[in-house]
Each structure stands twice: as C-alpha cells, then as structure tokens.
Symmetry: C2
Subunit: 308 residues, 2 copies
C-alpha cells in the first residue's frame, strides 16, 4: 500500500490589490517549505489565487470576470506548476474558472508529481445568495457569481491513492464524502475560505465555527475510512476575517496536523493509506451493511417534506 | 415553538440471570428520578429489557427466542407504561421483537405523555455477523438473530415535536440522520449497546470508541439541525464491558448533557425546539442547497465500486 507525506499550505489573507504573481510567489515559498519536509502532495485553499471576492456585490460582469482564470495553467500560475514538477510534488488548489463557453465555476485541479493535471472538480454546494442582502453583516454571493458544479464527485487514481476533491461548504454535507466513499476514496482534499463571523448570527463566534468545520471533516473521514485534508485561506482580507483551522485528518477521524495561525503556514503528516483498510473492511464495509432501500429520500427529494 | 425537558436513562449492566421484572423496576426508578427533574420525555437504551444477548452464539431457536417480546406492552413492561402515563412522561426504549409471523427485529417504540405508543422503529443497520467467528475476541451476532428493519426511518409528530428513532449502529451512518432530516426532524432518539472493546482490533481502546460515538451523534445533529439523544446500556455484562457516554446533543452539535458513569444514571436537558430553525433555514436549508443530481450513487449502489 501507498504511503505519502501530505501537506497543507494554509494561506493568510490576500487583499484585493494583490496581484496573481505576488500570490503565486507565496505559494511557491510554501512549496519550497513543503519540499524541505518531504511533502509529496500539497493542498492549497479554495480560490487560492485571489481575495475571496464573493463578499463584494458587483453588477458589472467585466468587474466580476477579472477574478476568473480563462485557462489553467496560465501565465501567472505556470511558475507554480514548473516548480512543483521540479520538486516532484503533486499540488491541488482552487481558482475561479471561466470556460470558453462563458460559464463560471468555483473549481479545483490536482496534478500528479510530474506536474500534469489529472483531475478537475467544480464546487457543488454553493453557499450564500444571489442578490444583495441588506439583512446580512456581509455578503456571500457565491450563488451569484458561480453556477453549481456539473462534474459531480469523481475520484482519481493519483500517485497510488484513490483521491477526490471537494471545496469549502461541501465539507458540511455528508453526501460529499459518501459519494466518494462509494468509489473507495482514500484521500479527500478540500480548500476553504470561511468567514470568521456568521453573516446572519453575529454572536455565533469563531470557536463554534471552527468546531463545526472540524466536526464535519472528522465525521466525513471516519464514516468513510478516508484521510481528509481541509486547508484554509485565513486572515483579514480588506477588513473581513477568515478563519484558519486547517487540518489533516486520519481515517479514524483523528487530527494528525493542525494549523496554529491565520497566516501562510505549512502543516504536514505522513499518511499510510493502508490505514484506510480496517474501517472499509469492518464497520464501514458498505456492501455488507448499507441498506439503500431505506435511503430513497436522499436522492428523490431535495428539500424537506414534513409529516402531515 | 415547543420546549420539552428531554431525559436519558442510561442503564448499567443487565446480567443474563436478571429477570424482565427486575429490569423494569430499575427503569421505573429512573422514571421517578426523571419526574423529579421535570423530564417530559425519557429515552432508554437499545434492548433495554435484557442483557445484550447477541454476544452469545446460539443454535437453538427456542433459546434465542427467550430474549424476545411477543407483544408490547406485555405483562413485564405494563408497570412501566402505567407509571409513565401517571407521571405524564413520554418514553422510548428498545427491545427484541418477535412478530406473530415469526419475524425477529431489533425494535424501539415511543409513547406520548398519555402512555400510548405512537411510533415504532426497527433497526436498519445491523452490525456484526451471522456465523460463529473464531477470529473475534467476542461475538456480535446481530445479523444472525435479527433481520434488517423493514419500516425505514420514519418520523412522528409527538408532543409538538417532529421526532424519529434510530438504534445503536445506525448512529454511524449519515444516511440515518439525513432521511429523517428530509422530513424536518427536530429530535432523534437512539439507544445503544456498544462493547468497550473492538472485537477485531483489541488495542483500539475505549477513548477512541467513545470519540467515534460522539463524533457521529454530534455531526448528525449539526448537519440536520436537530436535537439527538444517544443513550447507552453500559457496564460489565457477564464479563463483557459495554461503554457509557450517553449524551444529549443540540442542533449545533454541542453536548448539553453527558453521563459520567457506566451505571444506571439519569441525564437531562431542557430543549427549545425553536433552536432547530436557524440551521434549517440558513446553511442547511436543504431546498436551496442540496444537489441531488450528484448524489445518485448513495441510493443506486450499496457497496464500493472503485475507479478503473
């Protein structure tokens, strides 16, 4: 079975004024740190190349589109791909994708250790809202700027591991992990940008929000016997705080490594993917224990239907 | 919105030699304690009336059937129903059910505060195995003695709350909570008998097993914005230890009350079911956020299908 050192490249704040080139330079610095620690696959956050722009209400589509990438790699990110290939580190990061057909997705890609893109994921569970909401302390307009991902929750064999990707709010939905678990997933990588303040419940507090993030990542790992790496963009972006709390979780749901700052910070853990086998062959041997005849509502019904 | 004081009646060990009547006397004692604390609904464990008999390998069906109840209430349990009605406390407990047609289920019922049975659940996720397994440190023969529940995960309006039931191993499966969440569930009650030792990994340890139990209960509560009461039968039954760890969890996934012993022990918490509304109307507003077009494998596929 495969062993890999998995790294998480938590990133601190990216301001509106920061160029892609400046951000990529920080990403390469984290990559160099990772290489020095023997990391073989490095996970960057969601929307790693820019500020978390869905907090800004925009009506001019040209203004929106400045935050999107038309191709990947592109001029700004090629140096990151080049350095990762030279160091033999597989990388995964998120970015805003504008397709040739003019479609907008919240996307992540993953490469192998030779620098080739081997998988793409488009965020399925978009949080937030479409129109300006004066009731909120800040806006969260992902439903305005992106359409829901159209690729589903695929997995790939990459560097000897069955891996899949998810993005941010996907981590709160057990369906995310389960669809990949049903494909034998051994590693789920997930980047996030999560405001430290609940825009609809200001007194919720950072501690509770960090608890919810870890609870979801840990339960998803345990209940599917998979490693999970959840990696934040953190810090204060143009006055808006994002939480840290990046973690690498083992197939028992235990945290192997955890970020301590809200800055650019490398975490890493040696992962033995043989550790997935026990859960997958005993308590979570799906073939023996799942009872799909009683799960029908999960796929036949989107919203709640209360009893009479 | 409804407020109810929810109680958990954790029970200590029940030995093979203990009579139903002796056990019911203990259950009534816990009921009296609950009444003194203002409890309005009291949750007892899985298989509350007997020892956890699936640890014993039996070939004689008459020997097996001695652990089953032919009707509910019956002579042994009628005093519990009577006292609960007199005290105005709704109760729910688990027992082994033998139907008139000769079918065997791991069952729970719930009453209203007038002592009428208003719901029945039959355990869907049976753990363990069918035949004697010499590789295990102890047997776990639920798949031998029960058939999987045939009623699904229903909910009921009971005492002003939308509630549902699950049993023991069901708590590790996110599908359990989600099917009820899609029916607007506000309270899930769940009894368990969980060995303190993993029969297939002796060095796992009690702490890790308690962590897994709470992780699943807390994630299920948070991700469906529902209260969850998970109540143990604990202690050493004829030499075999069962873990405690009974908890009442709020719709944010936080533990409101937790047992400290492995004995008969009452826990309780005042629950304001209005607290379910925030999660259900924001981050877990299923109608706005779920994407069932990407969940297909959850109901179309029981076991794992790995990528090529």
């Amino acid at each position: 079975m495969t062993k890999l050192v998995i790294g998480g490249a938590q990133m601190g704040a990216i301001q509106k004024a920061d160029s892609r080139e400046a951000v990529v330079a920080r990403m390469i610095d984290l990559l160099e740190q990772a290489a020095a620690k023997g990391v073989e696959m490095l996970v960057y956050p969601e929307l790693a190349l820019t500020t978390f722009f869905p907090r800004w209400y925009m009506e001019d589509q040209a203004e929106v589109d400045q935050w999107f990438e038309r191709e990947m790699p592109n001029g700004a990110t090629q140096p990151l791909f080049d350095r990762a290939r030279d160091l033999g580190i597989a990388i995964t990061f998120g970015y805003a994708e504008l397709t040739p057909e003019g479609r907008h997705f919240n996307t992540s890609i993953v490469t192998d250790r030779k620098g080739e893109i081997v998988g793409k994921y488009r965020k399925v569970h978009l949080p937030g809202h479409v129109e300006y909401d004066p009731e909120r302390s800040h806006q969260h307009l992902e439903k305005r700027y992106f359409e829901p991902g159209d690729l589903g929750f695929n997995v790939w064999r990459n560097e000897g591991v069955i891996m899949g990707m998810a993005i941010c709010n996907d981590r709160r939905w057990p369906e995310t992990y389960r669809v990949m678990g049903l494909q034998g997933v051994e590693l789920i990588t997930l980047g996030y940008n999560t405001p430290s303040v609940n825009s609809q419940m200001g007194d919720e507090g950072l501690a509770k929000r960090l608890f919810h993030s870890k609870l979801s990542l840990q339960a998803g790992a345990y209940q599917n016997a998979t490693f999970v790496a959840g990696i934040a963009k953190a810090g204060v972006e143009d006055g808006h705080p994002l939480m840290g709390g990046s973690v690498i979780v083992d197939p028992n749901g235990f945290i192997l490594a955890e970020a301590s700052s809200e800055e650019d910070e490398l975490i890493f853990a040696p992962c033995d993917f043989a550790d997935c086998a026990f859960g997958k062959s005993t308590i979570f041997d799906f073939a023996r224990h799942r009872r799909i005849e009683h799960y029908g509502r999960i796929t036949s019904q989107t919203g709640v239907i209360e009893p009479a």
